[in-house]
């Protein structure tokens, strides 16, 4: 799980072009949207593509997105449960 979280941090920083943010700056339990990392709806689309492209996971029900993308840890848990990480 820890290795996956570290990998996800790097991928998210790269995909979302989070300039000046290093993996150490992001706690696995920080909120990604709203007050935490401050991501927005466009970032959510980027994350959906990231999951599909890198982990072969499609989020069929948009309502699940809010839970899955709550934190880096929830994404990692979702990948572990459903994916081929």
């Amino acid at each position: 799980m820890d290795a996956l979280i570290a990998k996800l941090k790097t991928q998210i920083i790269e995909q979302l072009n989070l300039e000046g943010v290093s993996p150490d700056d992001i706690s696995p339990d920080d909120s990604l949207f709203g007050e935490g990392l401050g991501l927005d709806s466009i970032d959510a689309l980027e994350l959906i593509v990231l999951l599909e492209k890198n982990y072969g996971l499609k989020i069929e029900n948009p309502a699940d997105g809010k839970k899955i993308f709550a934190t880096i840890r929830t994404i990692a848990e979702y990948i572990t449960a459903h994916g081929k990480a």
Partner: protein, 354 residues
């Protein structure tokens, strides 16, 4: 139709983002592909917004911000831009992702920013400006059409202060593709010696230039933009000459009234002849200047010429690096810009002292 130039912001292959450096620092390039010198964008754009912006968007938004600050006008009545290719790098990125991913898993950012009106839209969002917003894409007439629209809005009293922009970005893919069409020089040259090359082709460039146009006289105005005219595919040099005479006449000026002619010379031996014809006939007693050795050639490079002319009028200084020939030069009251893009789109602008 006329308008005063109240403020200017420009990002180019020179240090033009610094308004106090009017070509005091000149950068020469030993390449045929010129790119802009980037200011520290974080000083102009919120880092949260910056991270998603492509290079051209950063250039355009920053040039617009510099222009707004320079003009002292916070909210324009309209935002109008002109661009030949728009945000070409994002277009390339998006199309490449489509190819590589077999039209699946496409990210939204590059697609959103690949449209031509991305910059005018982003500037409007940044300013919360819900007024008239338009982008013109007319190849070598893109900036001129945006300018024409601005002048008409001001003439009709529908707008009093307009943020006008011209921008195009260079890219390796674009350069390589158009190189096959013979647009660029085959041999590497020093950009500052562009006119000495005497071969076909020129150097590619880019830039983002914004002007605040207004109908109000003000001590801070740079210059008066007195006239604009375009000419499509003239048959010969005589037609260009006649068009120039008619243009001056329509603006109640004669050749003797012009103190400086800014030519769009780009070092292409195939298409520079018309400029030399004008210089050696009509304007053989008039001082000349040129500018594409500083910014390269691109669809909206006439915006660079307008930046140069407005600054010359305001500062009453013609930097040595742009001088063409040795004709004596006194006070500069009237400047004529003559530019063409690939011998197809000809434009003429008159810039005068306020």
């Amino acid at each position: 139709m006329k308008a005063y130039i109240r403020g200017i912001g420009q990002i180019s292959p020179q240090q033009t983002f610094d308004k106090d450096d009017f070509l005091d620092t000149v950068v020469g390039y030993n390449t045929n592909m010129l790119f802009c010198i980037d200011p520290v964008y974080k000083e102009f754009i919120n880092p949260l917004q910056l991270r998603r912006m492509s290079r051209t968007l950063r250039m355009g938004v920053t040039a617009a911000k510099i222009c707004l600050t320079d003009s002292g006008i916070e909210m324009p009545d309209a935002v109008i831009t002109g661009t030949g290719f728009g945000c070409i790098e994002d277009t390339e990125k998006f199309l490449l992702a489509m190819l590589n991913n077999n039209e699946q898993q496409l990210t939204p950012t590059a697609f959103m920013q690949s449209t031509h009106n991305t910059i005018s839209g982003q500037v409007a969002i940044m300013l919360k400006c819900k007024e008239y917003n338009s982008t013109y894409v007319n190849r070598g007439f893109s900036f001129e059409t945006a300018l024409l629209d601005s002048l008409m809005l001001i003439a009709e009293g529908n707008a009093h202060k307009i943020l006008l922009g011209g921008f195009d970005e260079n890219s390796v893919n674009l350069h390589v593709t158009t190189e096959r069409l013979g647009h660029w020089k085959k041999e590497k040259i020093n950009s500052l010696q562009l006119l000495e090359s005497k071969t076909s082709g020129t150097i590619s460039g880019e830039g983002a230039t914004f002007f605040m146009l207004t109908d109000k006289e003000d001590a801070n105005n740079y210059a008066l933009l007195k006239g604009l005219s375009t000419l499509y595919k003239p048959e010969n040099e005589k037609e260009v000459e006649q068009h120039t005479i008619d243009f001056l006449k329509r603006n109640n000026l004669s050749v003797a009234d012009i103190d400086l002619v800014v030519y769009g010379l780009n070092g292409d031996v195939r298409t520079d002849g018309v400029y030399y014809h004008l210089r050696d006939t009509m304007f053989n007693q008039t001082a000349g200047a040129y500018f594409k050795h500083l910014c390269g050639d691109y669809y909206t490079s006439s915006a660079f010429a307008l930046w140069l002319s407005a600054n010359v009028i305001k500062k009453q200084d013609v930097p040595e690096v742009v001088r063409l020939g040795k004709a004596p030069l006194g006070a500069v009251k009237n400047i004529l810009i003559v530019n063409h893009y690939r011998d197809i789109n000809y434009s003429f602008m008159l810039v005068s002292q306020c």
